[in-house]
C-alpha cells in the first residue's frame, strides 16, 4: 500500500509540474483495437480515422464532411469528364524527411488497387495515372466519373521509396497472419507521427512539427491510444480521468456518464446503417446443415429471416431507444426514406414462408458477428439468434473481435461467411456508393464493384442503374433512378437493414472536440486544457 501511495504522490507531483506546459497529451480509448497500420488493409471508419493522423489523402473532408484540398492543392476536370488534372502541394515532407512528389501518388494508386487491398473501389480499375511533372498528375478515365475523388480523403498516400526500401510494396491483406513492415510502421505526411505501435495494446502518436498545414487546430504533443474492449472498464477509465476520450459510450451508461460532472457524452445521429447479409452466391452454404443447395438463393427464405426480426424490441431493449429502424441500406440524412417501409415483424409469416420454400422444420446456419465494432453489436446478434429460433432457424453464432471477424468475412479472407452483421457508411456520403460497393454484383473481372458485398447479392438491372446514376447530372432524375434501384433491392430482400445507430462519444470536460457525423474520431481537432 505504501508503495502505491508513494507512486500516487509522485504522479501527482509530476502532474503539477507538467501543468505549466502548453502542449498536452491526450489519451483516447476505443472499444476496438488498431491491428494494422497499413492504410490499405481494412476499409473501416474507426481504422481510417486512426490512420488519418499519420496519413493524408489528396483530398480531405472537413468538419462538415465537405471535400477540401489536402495533398492536392487544386484539381481540374476536362470538359468531356475523362481527364482529371491534380496539382500537388509543394514542400510537403514525409515523416522520414523524404519529399512528397507525383511518384508517390502513382505508386499509391497502384498499391491501393493491388491484390490484398481492401480499398480497390477508391479508384476505378481502368483509371490511368500519368506524371506530368513532379507536382502534377493526370488521371485518364474510360468513362466519366464525377465522384472520382469523393473517397480520396481515406485513400492515404504512401511513400514509394519507403515502401520499396522496406519490402512493403504489396498491401497487407486483412487475412495476413504475419505483419508486414507497413502494418507495424507508418510513414505519412499527416499531423501526427507514429511514436510506437503495439497492435492491440497501445499506439502512441507524436505531433509532426514539420506538418505542411500551418492552421494547426489542436494543442497536443502526443496522443496515446489504447483499446478497451470491456464497456464497464472503458467507462470507468473515462470517469476516473485515466483517459480523456472514449468511443463509444455504451448506451446503457450515457445517463451515468452525463451525471458524473467531469465528463460529458456527445451524441448525434450516425450515418451508418447496421444490417444483416446472407451468402447468395455459393451453391452450398459454408456453415449450414442444408447440403447441395443454398437456401438464401430463395428470396422467400430471405424474407422469412427479415420478418422474423423484431426491430422495435431491439431498439427499445438493446439500443435503449437510441437507434432509427431503417427500411433502406442508407441513412435518411443521405437519401430520404419516403415511400419505403420495413417488412412487418411476423414470426408466423416467417414460418409459413420457410415452409413454402421447402424448410418446414427450418434449418441450421452459422452467423458471423463482430463484438467490438458497432454499438452493442454482440447483443444485437444474440437477440437475432433468439428471434430466428422462434421461426425455426437454429443459428450458431460466432461473435468475435473485429480483427478476426474482418479477416474471415472480407474479400481477402475469401468472403467466408453464410450470414453476418455489418455496418456501412458510404464513403462518398451518397447512394451510389451503397449501390456500387454493397449492392453491386461482385467478382466481375476488371471491376471492383461489390467489394464489400460479402453475401454477393447480384442483379444486373441494379448494376445498370448504378452506372447511369454515376454520370447523371440532373438531381431529380438521379434521385428517381436511385429510388428505382433501391426498390428492386428491397423487393428482393437483398439484405436485412436493421437501423442507424447513434453516436456516443465520452469526452472529458477538459477536452474540446468536433464530432463528425461519420463517427470518425479525429483528434487533430481536439484541444485540451
Amino acid at each position: 500500500m505504501s508503495f502505491k501511495t508513494n507512486c500516487l504522490a509522485a504522479v501527482a507531483a509530476l502532474a503539477l509540474m507538467c501543468g505549466a506546459a502548453q502542449a498536452q497529451t491526450l489519451r483516447y480509448a476505443n472499444q476496438g483495437e488498431l491491428k494494422s497500420l497499413d492504410p490499405y488493409t481494412v476499409n473501416e471508419t474507426t481504422t481510417n480515422a486512426h490512420l488519418g493522423h499519420p496519413y493524408e489523402g489528396l483530398t480531405a473532408r472537413g468538419k462538415d464532411l465537405k471535400i477540401e484540398p489536402a495533398l492536392a492543392e487544386k484539381w481540374e476536370v476536362s470538359d468531356d469528364g475523362l481527364k482529371w488534372r491534380f496539382f500537388l502541394r509543394k514542400g510537403v515532407k514525409f515523416h522520414n524527411g523524404e519529399d512528397f512528389t507525383a511518384d508517390d501518388v502513382i505508386f499509391s494508386a497502384e498499391r491501393v488497387r493491388a491484390p490484398g487491398s481492401n480499398f480497390t473501389t477508391r479508384i476505378p480499375t481502368d483509371a490511368k495515372f500519368t506524371k506530368v511533372d513532379d507536382y502534377t498528375i493526370d488521371v485518364t478515365l474510360s468513362s466519366p466519373n464525377p465522384i472520382l475523388n469523393a473517397q480520396w480523403d481515406t485513400w492515404y498516400i504512401m511513400s514509394k521509396k519507403w515502401a520499396e526500401a522496406n519490402n512493403a510494396v504489396a498491401p497487407t491483406p486483412a487475412a495476413a497472419t504475419t505483419p508486414s513492415h507497413a502494418s507495424l510502421n507508418a510513414n505519412g505526411t499527416g499531423p501526427f507521427k507514429i511514436e510506437s505501435h503495439q497492435p492491440g495494446v497501445k499506439t502512441v502518436f507524436k505531433v509532426n512539427e514539420n506538418w505542411w498545414n500551418k492552421k494547426v487546430e489542436h494543442n497536443l504533443k502526443e496522443i496515446v491510444f489504447t483499446p478497451i474492449a470491456s464497456d464497464a472498464t472503458r467507462v470507468a477509465a473515462l470517469l476516473s480521468g485515466e483517459v480523456d476520450v472514449i468511443e463509444p459510450v455504451p448506451i446503457q451508461d450515457i445517463q451515468r456518464v452525463n451525471s458524473a460532472g467531469n465528463v460529458q457524452v456527445m451524441t448525434g445521429p450516425e450515418l451508418r446503417t447496421i444490417f444483416l447479409g446472407m451468402d447468395q452466391t455459393r451453391d452450398e452454404l459454408l456453415e449450414s446443415n442444408v447440403k447441395g443447395k443454398n437456401p438464401f438463393k430463395d428470396p422467400k427464405v430471405r424474407q422469412a429471416f427479415y420478418q422474423a426480426i423484431d426491430i422495435e424490441t431491439i431498439k427499445s431493449r438493446v439500443m435503449r431507444g437510441l437507434s432509427t429502424p431503417s427500411p433502406l441500406m442508407i441513412a435518411p440524412e443521405l437519401f430520404p426514406h419516403a415511400g419505403f417501409t420495413r417488412a412487418k415483424f411476423d414470426t408466423e409469416a416467417s414460418k409459413k414462408l420457410l415452409a413454402e420454400a421447402g424448410y418446414p422444420n427450418g434449418f441450421e446456419v452459422g452467423m458471423d458477428c463482430p463484438n467490438d465494432r458497432y454499438v452493442n453489436d454482440g447483443q444485437i446478434c444474440q437477440a437475432v439468434v433468439g428471434m430466428l429460433a422462434r421461426a425455426g432457424i437454429k443459428v450458431n453464432l460466432n461473435a468475435q473481435p473485429k480483427g478476426q471477424y474482418f479477416a474471415k468475412v472480407l474479400k481477402s479472407g475469401g468472403y467466408k461467411t453464410s450470414f453476418y452483421l455489418l455496418g456501412w457508411t458510404p464513403g462518398t456520403f451518397d447512394s451510389h456508393n451503397v449501390l456500387n460497393d454493397i449492392l453491386g454484383c461482385r467478382d466481375v473481372a476488371g471491376s471492383s464493384r461489390g467489394e464489400s458485398n460479402l453475401g454477393g447479392y447480384c442483379n444486373k438491372k441494379v448494376d445498370a442503374l448504378t452506372d447511369k446514376i454515376l454520370v447523371e447530372p440532373d438531381t431529380a432524375k438521379r434521385d428517381a433512378m436511385i429510388k428505382e434501384a433501391f426498390k428492386i433491392t428491397v423487393d428482393e430482400f437483398s439484405y436485412i437493414p436493421l437501423h442507424q445507430q447513434a453516436l456516443a462519444w465520452g469526452v472529458s470536460k477538459k477536452v474540446k472536440l468536433t464530432q463528425r457525423a461519420d463517427n470518425s474520431v479525429l483528434l487533430y481537432y481536439a484541444t485540451k486544457e
Binding site: A232, V235, D310, R317, G378, A383, V395, N398
Partner: protein, 317 residues
C-alpha cells in the same frame, strides 16, 4: 491409512464397509465440525441444483427460442418493476437469471470437475513415474513441472485455449468451448498432483512392502498402481477438493475474459461478464447473483477441502 489398518471390531464378525465407515475417525471429525456440516450441506444443495437444473429451473436459458428480448433487464421480483416469474430478474437478453444460474452452475461444475479429473490423472501418472522410476525420467518430468510452475495457471489456460482454437478454427465455438476449457484447466493444474505424488512415492518405494513386491517379481506398473498408489492417494484427495474450487474460478475467469463459454451457453463466469457491462447503469442483479453463487460454491468447497486435509493428516489428530 487408519481405515484399512484398524483391526476388526470383534473376532467373530468382520464389519462391513458401512460399519467401518460409521466407526471411523473421519465421520467423527465430520460430525464434530458444524462449519463443515453446513459447507457439505451447501455443496450438496448446489450439486443437486446443478444436476437437476432442467427439472428445477422454470425456463431453459440455453434455448434461444424460449428467451424473449422484450423481457430484458427486468430487476429482481422484490424490486420496483420486478416480476414474479423472474425471481432474480433477467439479463440483457431476457433470460431468467435464476434458471441461468442453475444451468450455469452445472456448466461450471462439469467443466471444473472434468478439468480437475484430467489434471489429477495426468499429475498422478507422471508423479508415480517420476517418483518410482527416478533418474532421468524423474529429472525430465520435474523440470517440465518446474517450468510450468513459473507461469500462472490462468496464463497457461489462455495459451492452450488459443492454440486449440487455432487448430479447430472451423468448429463452432458452442460445440468446442467445454472441451477446450477442460483441456486448458487439466493441463494447467497437473503439476501440484505430480509433485505431491512424486514426493510420497519417493518415500514409499523404499519401504519393505514395495521391496517385497519387487522381489516377488511383480511388474513395475502393477506395483505402482496396486501398492504405491493407494498409499499416496490421501494428500491427492485434499488437493482434488481444493482444486475443484480453483478450477471453477479459472473457468469463470476464462469465460469472463471472453475465451470461455459463449454468451449463448452462459456459465457463471459468462453471466458475470455479461453483468459487468451493466454495472454502471445500475442493473446490479445481473452480476450480483451469479457472483454470489460462485462465491458461496467456492467457499463451501474450500471449507470441505480444509476439513479433509485436517481429517486425513495423522499429525493433527
Amino acid at each position: 491409512m487408519s481405515m484399512t489398518t484398524r483391526p476388526p471390531a470383534s473376532p467373530e464378525k468382520i464389519p462391513t464397509r458401512w460399519e467401518r465407515f460409521l466407526d471411523s475417525d473421519i465421520l467423527a471429525s465430520f460430525l464434530r465440525s458444524k462449519v463443515t456440516m453446513v459447507a457439505a450441506f451447501v455443496v450438496l444443495l448446489l450439486f443437486i441444483g446443478a444436476a437437476f437444473s432442467p427439472w428445477i429451473a422454470p425456463t431453459n436459458p440455453f434455448d434461444p427460442a424460449s428467451v424473449f428480448l422484450a423481457d430484458a433487464n427486468i430487476p429482481p421480483a422484490w424490486q420496483q418493476g420486478g416480476e414474479a416469474r423472474f425471481i432474480f430478474g433477467t439479463d440483457d437478453q431476457g433470460r431468467d437469471l435464476y434458471s441461468a444460474i442453475l444451468y450455469g452452475l452445472r456448466v461450471s461444475l462439469v467443466v471444473g470437475g472434468l478439468g480437475v479429473i484430467l489434471a489429477a490423472s495426468i499429475g498422478i501418472t507422471l508423479g508415480l513415474l517420476a517418483g518410482y522410476l527416478g533418474g532421468r525420467v524423474d529429472s525430465l518430468i520435474m523440470r517440465i513441472a518446474d517450468v510450468q510452475l513459473t507461469f500462472p495457471a490462468i496464463l497457461i489456460a489462455l495459451l492452450i485455449d488459443g492454440v486449440v482454437r487455432g487448430i479447430f478454427k472451423s468448429a463452432s465455438r458452442e460445440d468446442t468451448a467445454i472441451y477446450v476449457l477442460v483441456i486448458s484447466i487439466g493441463l494447467s493444474f497437473w503439476v501440484q498432483y505430480a509433485r505431491t505424488v512424486r514426493g510420497s512415492t519417493l518415500v514409499e518405494r523404499n519401504k519393505d512392502y514395495v521391496q517385497a513386491a519387487r522381489l516377488v517379481g511383480l511388474p513395475a506398473p502393477l506395483i505402482m498402481l496396486r501398492h504405491v498408489l493407494p498409499n499416496v492417494i490421501g494428500p491427492v484427495l485434499v488437493i482434488l477438493t481444493i482444486n475443484l474450487a480453483l478450477a471453477v474460478i479459472t473457468e469463470a475467469t476464462l469465460s469472463f475474459l471472453g475465451v470461455g463459454l459463449p454468451p449463448t451457453q452462459p456459465s457463471l463466469g459468462t453471466l458475470i461478464s455479461i453483468g459487468n457491462r451493466y454495472l454502471f447503469s445500475g442493473d446490479w442483479w445481473i452480476v450480483a447473483f451469479p457472483g454470489v453463487t460462485l462465491a458461496i460454491l467456492v467457499l463451501a468447497v474450500n471449507l470441505l477441502g480444509d476439513w479433509l486435509r485436517d481429517a486425513l493428516n495423522p499429525r493433527l489428530r
